[in-house]
């Protein structure tokens, strides 16, 4: 038994929800049962450890078993699968083909280029030693012991790194602004207040590799001359907060944070500040107000936080993914980073791929990759092989990109050109069954509810936009509503105070641009082409195909369907609540909705 066995279990939030802790426990007891001592990082026979998010959450729990360097990935591991994996693979050395990850997994993984997520599914996020083993804190050591702050900023500038939080501002330049300010106190803030619906890249990085973010913050702090740092993180991310706190404790014990980092006289420490659930606090000036204990509301810029930020002091705010990138840029060099991506958008970007896509999950791809490669390559195409309609990028501030523009490249400029944004990396795929007016309404519901209420265009404007969209989806749209929508959208964008209002109408403008006919159908024909908007739908039973099986009548919750056995059934329109149950249950496609 001199084999080197290593088992890793995906224990990000997705993995844990799928039962990773139970799988882990079961693996441990099964192994003990056959006399194999599996301990966390033991030098003994078997190294059983947790890892952070692997991205392919749809197939959790993911377990890697590696014997003498030969790795097999198992997907959708449940408790009853553990026994065979232990017996057949670990004892007998025969991988269990039945449970091994299939083609989807390899398609999903194969086309990605992992930088930020490179260690997420590899090392134990709760163990600083695991991070040190893969070169952790060497980048910070290099910067603090051999580079000047100016050289550090120069390296980041040469790498071409741009902010991953959404706006894509050049990180090196932001640092330079911070470094140039003279002040007795400066701050570095890591923005982990990820709030876009469906986005979870920052959470996954903090959960899967918190040290890489801390290391990035140490480097940034040194570059700009900050001695205090904050991580502003959502309280809704308890696992991320717990792992971050643990990582900070470990880093302090190792002397990577404190009064004399790397015996270099550099002083820096980090506090964790929990956000209380306001989307707007992801906006940097609102975030600062929130840390200061005020109501989280943005203020006008200039002055920018780099001049006048937290407690009035120069402050640099970077997103989680940006700071993680910093560590790898220092580790592997600015030139390596600049070799990835396009001319103006360097490196990779993490996206949360969701919606009507086969392989949903967290992906990391080089900047500039065509959308088509992401959706049909990594994503494996549309669920149930339906027709692709649009992809929404950039969260509630982004836009919808139609099929005709699927060859758009994923970089800041190209996305802006088609009326969307990179944003923090949300990517929601929609198919022919999605109503684009309804999609725009969904995003406006979100933004108007999350508006802080400070400025008029955003507070009242988004509310009125939502009301116009709502009446269109209810068949009450008026002839001039499209004009009103367009004009008000432009005015809200132009006159709002902060990024929320300045981008909130984007989903409206982009759907109007590419799917105007759907809006027109709602208003003039009182028809929802995708069959989504309830108020515009009528359910009828097709006499030709109805077999009189009575299924629809039985499931109808309001008894609106009548008919004798083996005879055509009828729906009483005055009773129908359009719940879709009859449509779902009919095996003969005899229920029409239009």
């Amino acid at each position: 038994m001199s084999r080197q066995i290593s088992i890793s279990v995906c224990m990000g939030t997705g993995g844990l929800a799928a039962g990773a802790q139970e799988v882990m426990d079961k693996l441990s007891t099964e192994l003990a049962g056959v006399g194999i001592e599996a301990q966390l990082h033991s030098k003994k026979q078997c190294d059983l450890h947790r890892v952070g998010c692997r991205g392919f959450c749809a197939r959790d729990v993911l377990v890697d078993v590696s014997i003498d360097g030969v790795k097999t990935t198992y997907e959708q591991v449940t408790l009853d699968r553990v026994h065979r994996i232990v017996n057949e693979h670990i004892i007998d050395g025969q991988p269990v083909e039945d449970f091994a990850a299939g083609e989807d997994y390899h398609n999903f993984e194969g086309k990605q280029v992992k930088v930020v997520l490179s260690e997420c599914g590899l090392i134990d996020p709760e163990d600083i030693e695991a991070y040190l083993k893969v070169g952790g804190y060497e980048a910070a050591r290099k910067v603090l012991t051999s580079l000047s702050p100016g050289d550090t900023i120069d390296t980041i500038k040469r790498s071409g790194l741009r902010g991953r939080g959404g706006a894509g501002f050049p990180t090196g330049l932001k640092w330079e602004f911070g470094a140039n300010e003279q002040a007795d106190q400066k701050y570095i803030i890591c923005n982990a207040d990820e709030g876009d619906p469906g986005a979870f890249m920052d959470r996954s990085v903090v959960e899967g590799n918190p040290h890489v973010v801390i290391e990035g913050m140490i480097i940034a702090a040194y570059a700009i001359g900050a001695s205090k740092g904050y991580v502003y993180i959502r309280a809704e991310y308890p696992l991320a907060v717990q792992r971050l706190e643990l990582a900070l404790k470990q880093a302090r014990q190792k002397g990577f944070l404190g009064d004399n980092i790397f015996d270099n006289g550099v002083k820096f420490d980090i506090k964790v500040k929990l956000g209380a659930g306001a989307f707007i606090c992801g906006e940097e000036t609102a975030l600062i107000a929130s840390i200061e204990g005020k109501r989280g509301m943005p203020r006008s810029k200039p002055p920018f936080p780099a001049q006048k930020g937290l407690f009035g002091k120069p402050t640099v705010i970077n997103n989680v993914e940006t700071l993680a990138n910093v560590t790898y840029i220092i580790r592997r060099g600015a030139e390596w980073f600049a070799s990835l991506g396009t001319e103006k958008s360097k490196g990779t970007k993490v996206f949360a791929l969701t919606g009507k896509i086969k392989n949903s999950g967290l992906i990391e791809v080089p900047m500039g990759i065509p959308l088509r490669d992401v959706i049909y390559g990594i994503g494996g195409g549309i669920e149930k092989d339906r027709r692709f309609k649009a992809v929404q990028t950039g969260g509630p501030s982004g836009g919808c990109i139609p099929e005709s523009l699927l060859d758009t490249h994923l970089d800041y400029e190209s996305l802006a050109k088609v009326g969307s944004i990179m944003g923090s990396g949300g990517m929601v795929v929609m198919d022919e069954d999605d109503c684009m007016v309804n999609i725009a309404k969904y995003f406006l519901e979100f933004t108007q509810a999350e508006s802080c209420g400070k400025c008029t265009p955003c507070r009242v404007g988004t509310k009125r936009l939502l009301e116009i969209l709502t009446r269109i989806t209810e068949g009450k749209g008026k002839a001039n509503d499209l004009e009103l929508l367009e004009n008000l959208s432009v005015d809200v964008i132009d006159s709002s105070l902060c990024g929320l209002g300045q981008t909130a109408p984007n989903p409206i403008l982009s759907t109007l641009r590419y799917f105007r006919d759907e809006y027109v159908a709602h208003i003039t024909e009182k028809r929802c082409p995708a069959g989504v908007c309830k108020a515009l739908l009528t359910y009828t039973i097709n006499e030709a195909t109805c077999t009189g099986c009575t299924m629809c009548a039985r499931v109808c919750p309001v008894k609106a369907i009548t008919g004798e056995k083996k005879k055509t059934h009828y729906i009483d329109q005055s009773l129908c609540i359009k719940c879709n149950s009859c449509y779902d249950v009919c095996k003969f496609n005899a229920v029409d909705k239009r």
Partner: protein, 372 residues
């Protein structure tokens, strides 16, 4: 270094005209210095610029979006345009949006004529009904003697919140709720009571429309029917100025004098709301002299305590006081009398009293009630 920057002068162009001002000022301040009109709702000189109403937006060359002039510091060579087709359109939209959640009842409104919103709507020729939808229908809050709050008329300029928190340093109110449902309110929407509010009425003084109004003044005359009389507060020696608003010889309310060198429009509860004594029927307007031979315990006096007095003229009263002082001095010496003045007197009045006590009465027994 900081002082060097402060002393810098900056030259910028506003509407094609070169103007010069000191570094550290905002575009709005420089516009106002030069008499260039820029509309505002959330701006009050007494407060830190808020940038929320978006009416003061101006175009600045090189900037994609218009910027709020109240928050934007001036820079050398800046080219500012304060009114253009785009800016006018955006301002109109802001006003249309505000009106879409504002009761259309200027006819009945106490603020009509002195309302900043009404003035802006008139100036920009904005229609009432371009945008419509849900409107607030919130109850009026006026369960206190001084301040009436009608949230339905609030334009969310936040001036009341900012003045309460940053000038009065009280923090009675803050912005509550989110999005369309944000509004200034007390914590947990509690009524204004003396334990949380000092009733200085600063919030009322800064409110640009009729969301916050003086409760006692309601229905007693709008700006067109009152005369404004500038005066000095008599409550203490600070010397705050304000305007008494007089309608048909009756004081109906006090409004701020923003130019007043001492208080710059700021007032406390006494100055702002404590004017009802002036024309109160119980107020003494003539000296009273005790009647001789009246029994304090007689049924007549018990029924009406004022019956022990009779009205007199000032000469008679002062002669009486002077003769009594002289009597006491002659009988018991100078130190048997003294003078005690009020903190409500001005510095000059207090000086005069001290002088009179020492020179005329010949004693150093002089004091003042200001002990706090």
């Amino acid at each position: 270094m900081t002082t060097a920057i402060m002393e810098d002068t900056i030259t910028l162009t506003i509407n094609g005209k070169a103007v010069t001002s000191e570094s550290g000022k905002t575009v709005l301040q420089v516009c106002r210095e030069n008499g260039i009109y820029v509309p505002t709702l959330c701006y009050d000189e007494r407060l830190e610029a808020y940038g929320g109403c978006r009416l003061c937006i101006v175009e600045i060359k090189g900037q994609v979006r218009p910027l709020s002039s109240c928050t934007t510091p001036i820079r050398e060579g800046m080219e500012v345009t304060t009114e253009s087709d785009r800016i006018t359109r955006l301002r109109k939209t802001v006003l249309e949006l505000l009106l879409s959640n504002h009761p259309n009842d200027c006819m009945f409104c106490d603020k009509a004529g002195s309302c900043a919103l009404q003035e802006l709507v008139y100036r920009y020729g904005v229609r009432y009904d371009k945008y419509y939808g849900e409107m607030w229908n919130l109850p009026k809050k006026d369960d206190n003697p001084f301040i009436s709050y009608d949230p339905n008329k609030c334009v969310l300029c936040s001036r009341c919140v900012n003045i309460c928190q940053n000038v009065v340093m009280k923090g009675t109110i803050d912005m509550t709720g989110r999005g369309f449902y944000s509004k200034p309110d007390t914590a947990f929407s509690k009524p204004l009571t003396p334990d949380i509010c000092v009733f200085c009425g600063q919030c009322v003084s800064t409110c640009p429309d009729a969301a916050l109004t003086e409760k006692q003044a309601m229905g007693k005359g709008r700006v067109g029917s009152v005369d404004r009389v500038r005066t000095t507060c008599t409550y203490c020696g600070t010397g705050c100025n304000f305007y008494l608003n007089v309608n048909n010889g009756k004081i109906v309310k006090v409004t701020s004098d923003y130019e007043a060198p001492v208080n710059r429009g700021n007032l406390c509860v006494k100055g702002r709301f404590g004017y009802d004594f002036i024309q109160h029927p119980d107020r003494l307007t003539k000296p009273l002299i005790r009647r001789e031979g009246v029994d304090d315990t007689s049924p007549e006096v018990l029924k009406n305590p004022m019956a022990v007095f009779r009205e007199a003229e000032w000469d008679e009263a002062l002669d009486l006081v002077a003769s009594k002082f002289a009597e006491l001095k002659a009988k018991y010496g100078n130190d048997s009398v003294g003078g005690f003045s009020s903190s409500r007197c001005t510095n000059e009045e207090n000086y005069l009293l001290a002088k009179w006590v020492r020179a005329a009465l010949g004693t150093n027994n002089v004091d003042n009630c200001a002990r706090v």
